[in-house]
Point group: C2
Chain length 409, copies 2
């Protein structure tokens, strides 16, 4: 009967898409009046663009799922009988029910905290703390419903660790960190029109494709149906947002959206039991994070903004740069930039006075280092294309290679 | 073992109090910078006061309960065994667990929507829609766990309806409306320093007293322990807020707080099965709502703000007024003002040109009609005293009178 539930979910998602498309333009004025706007620095006239529309998307998503909650259970025999006779059903699948509710609690909490961040401009330590807090209900449910903290070992490690290893509490730390990573990873790979939404679209699409493949293979059917319940409305509302956020952006999405998207992915990854596959879909975000580490952890000077520079004459984006003296860096910092330089992963320009100028270490700037000045729309398209490529790689790793490494010998 | 859980809850609440008291002054600057402030119009120098501190209180409350979630279940035998052996516990009380999570989802959702309202200044129809949405998860859980929609009839109605009446879907409509009422009722009885927080303190205290009485009487122990789990951290964080919100206010609480408080009360009322008793504790809010109806539903002209007028010379509050011609009102409007006038519940001043001037129909103005100009701090104290009086009346109705009307003959 879950086919019917998915069909209803798809219908609700369709309605959510139409509603969001109608609502976004109507709320633009209200956001600007509330002082929620930013200047789009990569345009000639630097227009005022309303910010934090993730909050609207998040609301529509929540309402869609609130309305959907009863559906999967309406087909449950015990619950259905009960509606007629009244009284408390004995065999109601409370464990499935609590998963849905806890997932929504984590997502709702994250949207709320993201919006608070947008409005109040919280500090960095909060950005790490908040997703951890929001994940707590999720981890509780995982503990109660599964508490499976066993990791299957790949063939080559089985001599050392056996076929599987129970890593216990470490697994919960991993899941908590997964949520922190997902929420912040999207937020870091951002800054040009449509990029946050574009990458989320592709990750959501990848998860859906993966869910469908697994369903067709008959693996862990419940978990993947659960994931589809969340991904369809997410995809629908995100598509509506994309309509207005793609180049040239009429609305910005804010931290709210990045947190919302990241948490939704973490939720389906954790409760759908495919957190490791999920990480494969985050390959560009992981690369961007690794590439950024020298600046994020201040081994290399990090300016407040690392957005590419806009050239109003050509309407193209150029790399933005940071400057330092090689001697001023500490040993790990020197090592990092030397390695990156030798691998030709950063631009390198030594000025007369010995000061080195390199691009800022973000994937966006890297695209510009490789391809030279590029139009903003094209940079987003390139990065989205790269995200699609990574999904293909991820699915390759997940299926043929995983079969090899995790062969049931 | 729930004694231990309550003790731990109390300890967490104590910590939450200390944390909130430390946090509020530190966040004042951040709120003002985020454009979240209002002018306190009832002071000589009309100072700038940061607004919407309900969001901070709500966050601390949520975090406290997130940390507390595992505690009641840690003492559960099945869950405890499982922690040692690993694997999925079979007899875990998922039904109790989902109540906690759904309650938190509704409250979290309401805090979020309240904050969105504060920032974006939503329209009136949203104020009615939002609590309805936020209650949906709660109603789902009620349906799944109890679905008891039977109302016990008082003696005098038993000839007509029998001992009890199953009102079915109407009961869910009632619960949805309860949430809408609770969230908005506190928001309407507001506008002078400390009033929203003061009344919430007393309602929370009343609920706690009622829970303890019921526990001592051995009635529905689980429900009242559930309520205590929510009321202790609520009382603790609200007490901390009161320290800064009482006259003269250093921070304002915003719609966020009113929504948060109202929803928390609705949640414990609904899932604790004492929604009718809860309404008794809202007596001043009900009176204020009834008294306000002529203006709320525009039978009588309603100015944008109905706050009392501040006299800077005497530092006292005076009634604020509305003016109309009796002939301009429609028939129900004329009837209402005539009844109120004859009952001496409103001031009445006919000017030379036949225009009538009365006070605005709020409980705050009514206090000023009866007692003349009063200091702001004293008005809050009077209304809080009235709230305490109403609690005493409520408990009298609930116990001696209810025993009489609902006698088990």
């Amino acid at each position: 009967m879950s086919g019917v539930a998915i069909a209803i979910n798809a219908a609700i998602s369709g309605a959510a898409y139409c509603m969001t498309v109608r609502m976004i333009p109507r709320f633009r004025e209200m956001f600007i009046k509330a002082n929620l706007f930013g200047r789009d620095l990569c345009k000639k006239d630097k227009p005022q663009v309303p910010e934090s529309f993730g909050v609207l998307i998040g609301c529509v998503f929540l309402v869609s799922l609130f309305l959907f909650i009863p559906i999967p259970f309406a087909f449950d025999e015990a619950a259905a009988t009960d509606a007629i006779t009244g009284g408390k059903p004995d065999t109601f699948p409370h464990d499935k029910f609590v998963e849905l509710i806890a997932a929504l609690l984590s997502i709702c909490c994250m949207i709320f905290l993201g919006f608070a961040d947008d409005v109040l401009d919280l500090r960095w330590r909060h950005k790490l703390l908040l997703p951890t807090i929001a994940t707590l209900p999720l981890l509780m449910v995982y503990y109660v419903n599964y508490n499976s903290t066993t990791v299957i070992m790949p063939n080559f490690a089985r001599n050392l660790f056996g076929t599987s290893l129970n890593i216990g509490a470490l697994y919960y730390v991993f899941m908590g960190m997964l949520a922190v990573f997902c929420t912040n990873a999207i937020n870091i790979l951002a800054g040009i029109n449509g990029l946050e939404v574009g990458q989320s679209l592709i990750i959501a699409g990848s998860i859906l494709v993966f869910n469908v493949i697994e369903l067709l293979l008959g693996h862990q059917v419940d978990s993947h149906i659960f994931s589809i319940y969340f991904m369809l409305p997410f995809l629908a509302t995100t598509l509506a947002l994309w309509k207005f956020n793609k180049y040239p952006s009429q609305v910005f999405v804010g931290d709210t959206y990045c947190y919302f998207a990241g948490m939704t992915f973490a939720v389906v990854g954790i409760l759908g039991h495919f957190s490791k596959t999920l990480l494969l879909f985050f390959l560009p975000q992981i690369l961007n994070f690794l590439y950024s580490t020298p600046q994020l952890f201040h081994f290399v000077p990090c300016p407040r903004h690392r957005l590419p520079k806009y050239d109003s004459k050509t309407d193209l984006l150029h790399i933005s740069t940071t400057e330092f003296r090689l001697d001023d860096l500490n040993a790990p910092g020197r090592l990092m930039v030397t390695v990156l330089r030798n691998l030709r992963l950063i631009s390198w320009h030594t000025k007369a006075d010995g000061v080195v100028r390199t691009n800022n270490f973000t994937l966006i700037n890297f695209v510009l280092v490789v391809f030279g000045p590029v139009h903003e729309r094209v940079v987003t398209q390139m990065l989205m294309g790269f995200q699609v490529l990574c999904t293909l790689i991820a699915l390759t790793i997940r299926y043929p290679l995983a079969n090899y490494f995790y062969a049931k010998t």
